[in-house]
Amino acid sequence: MTSRTTTLPANAMPMGNTTSNKSPPPKRIARRLPVQRLWPMWAIAATQAGILVAFVALWEIAANTGLVDPFFWSKPSAIWSTMITFFSQGDAFTDIAYTFRSTILGFIIGTSVGALLGMSFWWSRNYALIMQPYIICLESIPKLALAPLIILVFGMGLSSKVAIATALTLIVSTLTAYSGVQAVDKDQEKLFYSLGASRWQIFTKLVAPSCVPWIISILRVNIGLALTGSIVGEFVSSQHGLGRTILYAGSTYEIALVWVAVIVLSALSIVMYIGVTWLEKFLRKGVVH
């Protein structure tokens, strides 16, 4: 025992020395930590505005000099005047309200029904296992491909747009809420049972509140999906809506009107996104601390 412990370091020492003598000393890198200096906010904003102005100006010039064909691409000045006509005499607000309504309805129905469905899987393991393949199948269907069928069933009115928006958001919400259910701490459940809790008490006081952050996380995705669903529904068949305006303007070569509708649509999307972000903050305050 003693002889082995004394020979070990004696053997190891010269070995270590010879290798370090042979190899050249490691090269040292003389490099400073890169530090980025942030511009002041006004400079960032001015640059952002500058890029937009330059883009619009270049587009206008290119269209006037014939560098791009204004028949296909239109030009900013034409878009601006179309915008004014659209808002002053067209059905602008009817169309905006139509698209907005179907999006919001689809968003609310899809998210809430999906969340309830996902949370319902907590009640029974058997029920969850039986439903699993169906949910996966529904998830893998490209829902937009069903749009013509949905229009046939629900008609040309608002309900078919709501149905498509719902179809797009429902399964995602279901899966997310189910993930939330599965993430409920088993020890937490054990604590509730040890206190003598009923299933319903555990559901309302533990499972549902635990799922709320999961459902919140899906809201922003869902509002985008719902808008997509509404627009596609309007593309397929509709009397109103911004999607219908785009389709109509495209087929009559009113390119300026296409741009106007797209710009309005983007603005609508941003407004709804901000709304959902606000809702998210409000909900988070009540649940996550």
Binding site: K190, L191, F192, Y193, S194, L195, V288, H289
Partner: protein
């Protein structure tokens, strides 16, 4: 058991011949060999043992969260095997709900038992103030230190008015200083509330410092191998841990745990 004898003093909690055997692919695994244990009302007992000795299994069975393979649990002489909500159970983690304030976390047990929220809050408020959570009643758990969280979790357990309280390593994750403070705090609560406590720990010193009896357990199969009465006077001061008597008891337990040759009898009572 003699019927007449059991009538004399019905133990608060009796664990009768409780065993737990798992059957995995035809292979029997004995998680808990038959255990017999009687705890008189108002006593503080500890279970110590290596991991896998079945401490948690005993707790789960007593709390009704697991059905024993054999045996029964009696509370006040009444069969409580497989019934939930008969004992207070505090798990290792504090398990405070992050979306509830400390006050609303503490009343969870009462709420589940149907006490109206306002009444439960009225009852809990003075407790929080008396037992070291004053000023934090309306804070959320994320603002609390580890020791404070354990205090809240323990108050939640005590406020459900169960005579028997199971504590599963409640101070296991705390630093040494906080742990010592919490042990003294727990002893105050124990003498104030007069509950029957079963305490699980890895820490021999903690077990002796707190308990009236220490049960030493062994693994493979999980079983109770010895019961050591701790006849140290209460209230106990921290300085007690360095007395020869305490040290002798600690050595006795450690020897048992490590399977070393053990003296025939536990350390003799203090010669007056």
């Amino acid at each position: 058991m003699d019927a007449a004898e059991s009538n004399v003093t019905i133990p608060k909690l009796a664990i009768e011949n409780v065993s737990m055997v798992f059957d995995t692919n035809g292979q029997e695994f004995v998680a808990l060999a038959p255990v017999n244990l009687e705890v008189p009302a108002g006593r503080f007992i500890s279970l110590i043992g290596p991991s896998g000795c079945g401490k948690s299994t005993i707790f789960n069975i007593v709390a009704g969260l697991q059905a024993p393979t054999e045996g029964r649990i009696l509370i006040d002489g009444q069969d409580a095997t497989g019934l939930i909500g008969q004992v207070g159970y505090m798990l290792q983690k504090d398990l405070l709900l992050p979306w509830r304030t400390v006050l609303d976390n503490v009343i969870l047990g009462m709420e589940i038992r149907g006490t109206p929220t306002a009444e439960a809050r009225d009852r809990a408020m003075p407790m929080l103030q008396r037992y070291g959570l004053a000023g934090f009643e309306h804070s959320f758990p994320s603002k609390l230190s580890g020791g404070m969280r354990q205090r809240a979790a323990l108050l939640r357990t005590l406020l459900v008015d169960m005579d028997v309280v199971l504590l599963d390593e409640p101070f296991g994750a705390l630093d040494a200083q906080t742990k010592a403070k919490m042990q003294e705090w727990l002893l105050t609560l124990f003498s104030d509330f007069g509950r029957t406590v079963i305490f699980v720990t890895h820490d021999v010193e903690e077990a002796i410092f707190l308990s009236d009896d220490v049960y030493v357990m062994a693994s493979r199969p999980g079983r109770v191998i010895d019961k050591m009465p701790v006849d140290l006077p209460r209230p106990r001061d921290r300085s007690i841990v360095s007395t020869p008597r305490f040290v002798a008891m600690k050595k006795y337990c450690l020897d048992l745990l490590h399977g070393a040759a053990v003296p025939e009898t536990p350390p003799a009572p203090i010669a007056a």
